[in-house]
């Protein structure tokens, strides 16, 4: 409804925006010629743009709240129909076959640049699925996940640099070391919950990064480690594009393995114990669930995937330094989990591909990338807080009485 108050509200919003952006959008000071240029036309753009946007915003917000969530249900139906396709046998097999074909053909159809960014995206799928165990299932907000990623990467970097140990030996080792650090972090923070846990994990992430940055004798500081060897294939020498394709299929294999394990974990007793622990700690204790051990396994298992992803990252880029392991990375992985839908495997995969591939294809707008990213996050959280694909667990179906 276009009532007068609506228009007035939007008008005031646009006035406010015009006032806020006045110094940056309108005034330009040319210091060389000592001139002030007034660009009044920009003010009009800002005014009209914010007027329309605030109008649309309020319209959609109201539509969401009113009318039995029609708009929302539409999206919900869409995502649940995706799930239904995958749950129905008749569609499941062709869909799987089509997906597998696309995955296999991809590196031969696309050029090596495309394949390369796909590898990065797949790495984030793996990281997202790992963090999904900690945040989505066990409900422990971990803001320092990148620390385990760094542990894995430096495990391979250092072992390869000093002792020349190959990729395949270090891959499980990196996972194990990630798990070890997960337990190390887990022990002191187990009694914490919610916000407090988030702060402590954030601190842990920064500690690891700062150690790597400043302990020159150990990690070569900000200059990092270069010339890390790529993964080997039975000693066969691969061409440049062959190496990328090999990396791609290796990553596909790892992602499949991750999906398999996470899926099994989710439906196992320990997975259910994580969900139960997230929901009610006292009830869990009354059921005889060891709070400490269950939380520790969640932390350790989540960290294992980060450790392995770290090893792969080091092998892919052949160069690592602490700048790759900033808080931004943790935030990115967390965004993938939240955007995809906490605890939902297909959601996390789609969100990872979306969040990593989109910025690459939007290189033309690279200046506004983070702005767009922020806007998408805000819009998602307001209009669809349960994520792209909500967990199946939350949707239950009544079995209709047969008559």
């Amino acid at each position: 409804m276009m009532t007068f108050t609506e228009i007035k509200k939007s008008f005031l919003t646009s006035l406010w925006f015009m006032f806020l952006t006045f110094p940056i959008m309108v005034i330009r000071v040319n210091t060389i010629e000592k001139q002030v240029i007034w660009r009044w036309e920009n003010m009009w753009y800002v005014g009209i743009g914010s007027f329309l946007l605030s109008f649309a915003w309020r319209y959609f917000l109201r539509r969401k709240e009113r009318g039995g969530n029609q708009a929302n249900e539409h999206i919900a139906n869409m995502s649940s129909s995706i799930q239904r396709i995958f749950s129905r046998r008749r569609y499941k097999i062709p869909a799987m076959v089509a997906a597998a074909m696309a995955v296999v053909v991809f590196p031969f159809v696309m050029n090596s640049y495309q394949t390369n960014i796909m590898i990065t995206a797949l790495m984030y799928v793996m990281l997202g699925l790992g963090l999904n165990i900690v945040v989505g299932l066990a409900g422990l907000l971990d803001l320092g996940y990148v620390a385990f990623y760094a542990v894995g990467a430096y495990t391979y970097g250092l072992l390869n640099h000093h002792f020349g140990i190959g990729f395949w030996t270090v891959l499980p080792l990196g996972g194990a070391l990630g798990a070890l650090f997960g337990v190390l972090l887990g022990f002191p923070v187990l009694r914490l919950r919610g916000d407090y846990l988030a702060i402590v994990t954030l601190g842990f992430g920064e500690i690891i990064r700062l150690i790597l940055e400043n302990w020159n004798e150990f990690s070569y500081g900000p200059s990092g480690i270069a010339h890390i060897s790529k993964p080997s294939l039975f000693g066969i020498k691969l061409s440049f594009s062959g190496e990328i394709n090999y990396m791609y299929f290796l990553m596909i294999g790892m992602v499949c393995f991750t999906i398999f394990v996470v899926n099994r974990l989710q439906n196992s007793r320990i997975g259910r114990a994580w969900i139960a622990l997230r929901e009610d700690e006292i009830a869990c204790q009354a059921m005889g669930i060891d709070k400490t051990r269950t939380k520790l396994t969640a932390f350790a298992l989540g960290a294992t995937w980060a450790g392995m992803a770290g090893v792969i990252f080091a092998a892919k880029t052949t160069f690592i330094n602490p700048a790759s392991f900033t808080f931004m990375e943790s935030a990115m992985i967390l965004s993938i989990v939240v955007l995809g839908g906490m605890g939902s495997i297909p959601g996390v995969i789609i969100a990872a591909l979306f969040l990593i591939l989109l910025p690459e294809y939007l290189r033309a707008f690279s200046d506004y990338r983070m702005l767009l990213f922020g806007a998408i996050m805000v819009i998602m959280m307001v209009f669809r807080p349960q994520g792209i694909i909500a967990t199946v667990r939350r949707n239950y179906n009544f079995k209709r009485a047969e008559n």
Partner: protein
């Protein structure tokens, strides 16, 4: 079976239980009644180890359990139905029951026990694939009791099973409690506000006030006791 000796429990600096002693024999239904804030729930929490006592001893089957962690205590055969039901809302009914059997790995017997539960509460069997949070209050209470039973306890600690339920449902639940006690010889420790109902099904009762046990007698005597009548039965 259960022996509590000079138990004192604190929340920070506040002493909640003051030198509590009580005894439960095998196969009994024992009830602990008292006003709000008397320390009934804390007593249960101390026995199950979730709020460990600062002083005193608890023996279960002649084993000291006051130093054990909650999961060890459950594995000894004590299982608790916490106050306010506390079922897992996003897990299905069947999954909730499976969480109750968390420490057990004998799949065959778990299946048998689950079938027993479906017998005991047919309504739960109809709702077995439904999320726990979508059940009504009475059904949730049934689920909470069933979940505790899945651990095959020798001693079942029940914390206010009548909380927020309609009188008819309360009656039904108390019938089931009696049935569980009679059929499986499960010892039951019942904490209740609803003193009248609790004393009717229990063999013995304890009365608690401000963290101290003030009376202990057979429930028949307690039902006739003038002080109890006035304070808890509203007669």
């Amino acid at each position: 079976m259960l022996k509590v000796n000079g138990l004192s429990t604190y929340y920070g600096n506040i002493q909640e239980l003051k030198n509590i002693s009580m005894e439960v024999a095998e196969g009994e239904i024992i009830t602990l009644i008292g006003a709000n804030g008397a320390g009934k729930t804390t007593t249960l929490m101390s026995i199950s180890g979730i709020v460990p006592p600062r002083q005193g001893e608890i023996f279960f089957l002649n084993k000291p359990i006051h130093t054990m962690s909650p999961d060890k205590i459950v594995s000894q055969g004590i299982s608790q139905v916490p106050e306010g039901r506390r079922i897992f809302p996003y897990l299905t009914v069947a999954e909730n029951l499976d969480m109750g059997a968390y420490l057990r790995s004998d799949t065959e017997n778990i299946k048998k026990d689950m079938a027993y539960i479906w017998d005991l509460f047919p309504i739960l069997s109809q709702r077995r694939h439904q999320a726990g949070g979508t059940l009504s209050g009475g059904e949730q209470q049934m689920l909470a009791i069933s979940r505790a039973l899945m651990a095959r306890p020798r001693l079942l600690l029940l914390d206010e099973p009548s909380l927020g339920l309609a009188p008819l449902i309360v009656k039904q639940i108390f019938e089931i409690i009696k049935k569980i006690n009679a059929e499986n010889n499960t010892t039951i420790f019942l904490v209740e506000q609803n003193a009248n109902m609790a004393l009717k099904i229990a063999h013995r009762g304890y009365v608690m006030e401000n963290g101290v046990i003030t009376m202990s007698d057979s429930s028949r005597n307690l039902l006739c006791n003038e002080a109890v009548k006035k304070a808890y039965l509203g007669l």
